[in-house]
Symmetry: C2
Subunit: 355 residues, 2 copies
């Protein structure tokens, strides 16, 4: 039977897959919940979203997503606390960034209510899928792609906005070793690097494979012109700790305005950790590694929250980072996840209860 | 009933749509033939392709094409001459470039026989769809995309290689006015600009929309670092004629190695037209427009073959190109299309008969 919540029609799945899922041994993004949100753009406007059973998407072979890569996405997480309350983390920031990405990719911007009411309704319907175990969460993937047809390299006339959710464990298993890139690049000045555009990620796969073959797990991206400035770590923003100062690069049209990144900056400042937002050179990091002032490096993003880097390679040299217990990475990760999961006070107003 | 040609199984469409098509008034890439080729990569290898009725593609919402833009494509044309013989133009160049693009996008490379035999079989089955009218052709779109699932930013484990065909008229209707880009870029050093990756095209839509709002049809792309070098025209390579010399930029990791581009270079040289392959600066083109030595500009690509540019805008100034009859653009376009359609001798061995 169909019901309506927040003006959104719900078609319930006839059966649930939830009993097939081992919530104690979740991988990241490999199991999907019973329902999804779907919202179609056609005739020049976004239509009212619906919640329906998780199901395949049927597209004409000429749909522009297959040919011209016109797509954007977001990554979010929902947490369930001990009282079964459900929490999101700064969801309006994801909504705003989705529209910033869409604008750059010539995708029509989405009304806020379709995103927020759609998301809340979906989480209400699939609330049993939100893991309670520490370190786990319901990973949320809102995405938009060109579903309209044609072999003409121009924006589509139809789009699909979909939200899927996946109960998930940790993104990375432990520390990662990274390779500072000297040849390949992820973004151009005046390009789409600041957007969560699908094509930004596919372009990273091959250089990352090459790094993996050399014994690293991720690439540290540098600017495409000089390869002298550190920009991102894999699909995450990057932080470097030199002595006691935390440094991260400024956002630009090449660098994603990460929500975890800006939360870390604000949190660190409030805890009197010295923070600098400025360009970081490769030579400065190498020099700091050599003289011992480089204490930590870590990636920051929704999926991994904070992902510590244990060492890096550059120009056929390997550099090890020191190992110690009370790192900024572990401290800040705990502070952020405690706020996200309602285990600590939230002086910033970041937490958002779904009810 | 299923038949087999070139070891490829054919499932024929039960009914044909061909009588619904007005072959005298074809648009570009809006009508699709009765059949398509499909070839799936799974279990670590490409499976034998099949020809089947043109039909929707069914994908899980977590298929990586929707999230990470992992896709590449090619553009080709088939022509039918007065004797009903069917011709392709340098198809092995498209095959090779597809694999070059795939490698950069971390997509498994395709065996040559699956591409060539698949294409020939598809054209045999749909030969009645190849237009005979001058200026028309069967546009061929081979493409590969990530069909494997997962919300992890890494290469998929399954892919689909598909060829669709569309009887098509001319790509552009007449001359185009272009805007030389000063802010946005299509590719980075060390990026994927040389590949026919889907994401390269979506990134162009928004800057092109802005140019259209200003009264232009296309953008001339410049390098992302200085915006001082001319690189591509919309989704085509660019040629500039200064006095009697034809100039085009060298290919690089930012510029597509266009098959029409290199055919024009070879053809022009054989006809004793002076050709220079070198970097072209914006200031040189503006200066040539001012002193009258800029005779022509045109885009070159499979879809439009040669697309003459009537004028350009730069820094809020408009520059008109001279109008005259015996242009390199019209001469070279006729020479190439005569070779493509078997109306003239082919001293280069470019033409490829499908039989």
């Amino acid at each position: 039977m169909n019901t309506i919540i927040n003006n959104i029609a719900i078609e319930k799945a006839k059966t649930s897959k939830i009993n097939e899922v081992d919530f104690d041994n979740l991988k990241f993004g490999h199991v999907f919940s019973d329902h999804m949100l779907e919202c179609n753009y056609k005739g020049g406007k976004w239509q009212t979203p619906v919640v329906k059973p998780y199901q395949p998407i049927v597209l004409d072979p000429a749909a522009k997503i297959f040919h011209y890569g016109q797509s954007v996405f977001e990554g979010m997480k929902a947490y369930k606390d001990v009282d079964e309350k459900v929490w999101l983390f700064r969801p309006l920031e994801n909504f705003k960034r989705l529209n910033i990405s869409s604008k750059r990719l010539a995708i029509p911007e989405l009304p806020e209510s379709y995103f927020m009411d759609g998301l809340k309704t979906l989480l209400e319907v699939d609330k049993d899928w939100i893991p309670k175990k520490a370190g786990s969460s319901l990973y949320i993937r809102p995405f938009i792609f060109a579903s309209g047809n044609g072999f003409h390299a121009s924006p589509a006339d139809e789009y699909k906005f979909i939200i899927c959710t996946a109960p998930s464990g940790a993104y990375f298993a432990g520390e990662v070793r990274v390779l500072i890139e000297e040849k390949y690049s992820r973004s151009a000045n005046g390009g789409v690097g600041f957007a969560k555009a699908g094509g930004n990620y596919a372009g990273q796969f091959y250089p990352t494979q090459l790094a993996i073959e050399k014994g690293y797990q991720q690439v540290i991206w540098t600017d495409d012109n000089t390869h002298e400035y550190i920009e991102e770590a894999g699909a995450m923003n990057i932080f470097v700790r030199i002595n006691d100062t935390l440094v991260t690069g400024p956002t630009s049209d090449r660098i994603l305005d990460g929500i975890t990144r800006k939360s870390i900056i604000e949190l660190a400042k409030s805890e009197n950790i010295p923070v600098e937002v400025r360009k970081i050179t490769v030579s400065e990091v190498v020099e700091a590694a050599k003289n011992g002032s480089l204490k930590e490096m870590f990636g920051a993003g929704t999926a991994a929250v904070i992902s510590p880097i244990s060492g890096f390679g550059y120009k056929n040299e390997d550099y090890e980072l020191p190992k110690f217990d009370d790192t900024y990475a572990s401290y800040l990760k705990k502070r952020i996840t405690d706020i996200q999961t309602n285990k600590a006070a939230d002086p910033f107003g970041w937490r958002y209860e779904v009810k």
